[in-house]
């Protein structure tokens, strides 16, 4: 169950080993769900570490609990890359994307309900053009046609979103 709050980032871990992966050995990519807040500098530093290598596959969602504390479980997975990011209902904007630019394996991004996401934010998503598969830009009031024109740079994305 995901519960999202505007001001507080949630962190709760639910581990489930992805043991039924057919193709590769389990030590590939894990899925993490992060609610990012620009106030959390430790999260920013964490993401700027570039020494992520593939270790084991699991699908976990990392959120902070009600009091805004992250559990330190993700430190166990410092060597994996992030696949899914959900920054819905936060104040992320163009400058906030700096935190995500190193994530070369990003597959899913959701910025649903973010009031500060505008066309310039969308124009910067070309960084993930090779890997991004799902992009959710629903309920972003500042996006217009000009920004949607920028999304043509994403090659594999299956786009769905609604105003």
């Amino acid at each position: 169950m995901r519960r999202s709050c505007r001001q507080v980032t949630l962190l709760s871990a639910a581990s489930r080993y992805w043991s039924s992966s057919p193709v590769a050995p389990p030590s590939k990519q894990s899925r993490l769900l992060l609610f990012l807040s620009q106030r959390f500098h430790d999260i920013e530093t964490l993401l700027s570490w570039s020494s992520w290598f593939k270790n084991r596959g699991q699908s976990e969602w990392f959120r902070s609990d009600r009091r805004g504390k992250f559990s330190w479980d993700f430190m166990n997975h410092r060597d994996t890359s992030i696949e899914e990011v959900d920054v819905g209902n936060t104040l992320i904007n163009y400058t906030g994307l700096e935190n995500l630019v190193k994530q070369r394996g990003l597959r899913t991004l959701s910025v649903s309900g973010c009031a500060e996401v505008d066309d310039w934010f969308l124009s910067r998503l070309y960084i993930f053009q090779d890997t991004l598969e799902e992009l959710d830009i629903s309920n972003c009031p500042r996006i217009s046609v000009g920004g949607l024109a920028a999304l043509q740079k994403l090659r594999y994305t299956d786009q769905h979103g609604r105003k």
Partner: protein, 504 residues
């Protein structure tokens, strides 16, 4: 005076002869003044005195030289008699400079800026007739940095140009990017430009023909060896919105706007002798004569600095100062090499065209087109050859010229074989005949005339950064953020052009 008024009211209210405060309180509805000949009256006296002192100070300031007061009634559409900086030309470059001058002044009302524009309808202004594109794909690092700085400005435009209680600025920026196509002959130029652009920090990518076909299936890659696509900060926007945003903000900061034409300058001349014995005239502008539209009335505006941002007509403004009218092989004989060049834009409709994904495509044949709106319309154009330059005394469109464009369009995009020309317009480039790049800086002989002109089609996309650079040059004495000394008038004197190595 007010005392008696109060008495009168209380007399009515009290129905009696006794005038005292007790009666007043009962009838507070009718009389709101407390009449007693003690403290309150003395407060009024001092308050009046304060106001009288204030009025006296204002009158004294008006009487001093340098104020705007005149004993005669004058036409309010005339510009003020004195201004610190007069900007000739109210296009996007002129207003950008005005905004940045006010932005950078150190104290409130530090500089009085006047923008003089001769056409209030902007019917022939290059700004509003432009296709509105912005790109970083240049070969000169200065141009790349100018574009990047301008894109940064436009990204945060509401932080810069929003006015309280007014609508936010919406440039309608389409982030579709520019796509340049190169043939075999010019592919090496594109590769060199690519490395320059990447080094300068622009986000550009090179595409092979197969990648190009995969990205744009509607394109015919015949003859294309390499393509260069801008990933970020490229596209097109609405020039009128940018112009009005600058204008609205600058006026809210105190810039004076005048609709009139600068017809001449009054200047003083200081003749000095060089080491070889030649005489050189140094001129200093004292007054700029601004003539009202459709009238013989004019106002000489006393000014310290004149900025020539007149676009296509900058050459004529420079001639008013005698730049270029001196003997042939002297500095004063070198004219400002900016002249108007007419360019056409055709609006075509093609329902099966490339659609929303169309970038601003520039082919190696010189033809370019971009999407316009969401109804299957595109605008296309081409730079003519030197010999075929159209006449510049009007803005009439030559529809025959489209016959030169159509074959290239249809060849490149097969869907364009069945298009219909809906409409067309023409606009002027402020074309720098010397090297097609801007001229920014002071003139060596006219020490208080600054140029910001000659951008040859790139003025709009560089305007925010040019404005900032000019404001730094004027107020700080030198360039601070971007060094545009490569664009100074000096290269015209020494005959060293800095050319853009375009593929077209």
């Amino acid at each position: 005076m007010s005392m008696w008024k109060g008495l009168h009211m209380t007399a009515r209210a009290a129905h009696g002869i006794h005038v005292s405060s007790r009666f007043i309180h009962k009838h507070t509805r009718l009389c709101t003044r407390n009449i007693s000949t003690s403290r309150p009256v003395q407060n009024d006296f001092f308050k009046d005195l304060e106001n009288q002192f204030k009025a006296f100070r204002e009158k004294a300031a008006d009487a001093m030289p340098g104020s705007d007061w005149t004993p005669f009634e004058k036409n309010s559409s005339l510009p003020p008699e004195r201004a610190d900086i007069v900007i000739v030309g109210g296009g996007v470059v002129g207003w950008s400079i005005a905004y940045w001058l006010k932005q950078k002044e150190m104290i409130r009302d530090g500089v009085r800026v006047l923008v003089v524009e001769r056409d209030p309808t902007y019917s022939q202004a290059s700004t509003v007739l432009s296709a509105g594109g912005i790109r970083q794909q240049f070969s000169l690092p200065e141009n790349i940095h100018l574009s990047m700085a301008s894109a940064d400005f436009m990204r945060n435009i509401n932080e810069h140009l929003s006015v309280l209680n007014d609508d936010p600025v919406d440039l309608q920026f389409n982030h579709s990017g520019y796509l340049f196509l190169a043939s075999e002959k010019v592919a090496h130029i594109m590769e060199e430009n690519y490395s320059t652009q990447r080094y300068a920090g622009a986000k550009v990518s090179l595409l092979s023909p197969t990648q190009l076909k995969e990205k744009c299936p509607w394109i015919n890659t015949d003859g294309v060896v390499l393509a260069s696509y801008g990933l970020e900060n490229e596209g097109w926007f609405d020039p009128w919105m940018l112009l009005n945003a600058f204008r609205r903000k600058a006026i809210s900061m105190g810039v004076y706007q005048c609709f009139g034409e600068v017809t001449g300058f009054s200047y003083t001349t200081n003749t000095m002798t060089t080491a070889e014995g030649d005489k050189v005239d140094f001129r200093r502008i004292k007054y700029a004569n601004v003539q009202m539209p459709n009238s013989l009335e004019y106002q000489p505006v006393e000014c310290a600095i004149v900025v020539n941002a007149a676009g296509a007509l900058s050459g004529k403004v420079a001639e008013m100062m005698g730049i270029g009218l001196g003997p042939k092989d002297t500095i004063s004989g070198i004219p400002l090499p900016v002249e108007p060049r007419k360019r056409f834009i055709y609006v075509v409709h093609c329902p099966n065209g490339p659609g929303l994904d169309t970038p601003f495509l520039v082919d190696y044949s010189g033809v370019y087109f971009r999407r316009e709106g969401l109804g299957g319309n595109y605008i296309a154009g081409m730079s003519p050859e030197e010999e075929e330059e159209p006449e510049t005394n009007n803005l009439e469109v030559d529809h025959q010229f489209f016959q030169n464009i159509w074959p290239h369009l249809a060849h490149r995009v097969p869907a364009f074989e069945c298009l219909k020309v809906k409409s067309a317009w023409a606009g002027f480039y402020d074309y720098n005949t010397f090297d097609q790049n801007g001229i920014v800086g002071m003139h060596p002989l006219v020490n208080n005339m600054f140029f910001a002109t000659g951008f040859s089609g790139h003025g709009l996309q560089h305007s925010p950064a040019i404005g900032r650079a000019m404001a730094e040059l004027i107020l700080d004495g030198g360039f601070k953020t971007l060094d545009l000394s490569a664009f100074s008038f000096k290269r015209i004197m020494t005959k060293e052009p800095i050319l853009e190595r375009n593929i077209v």
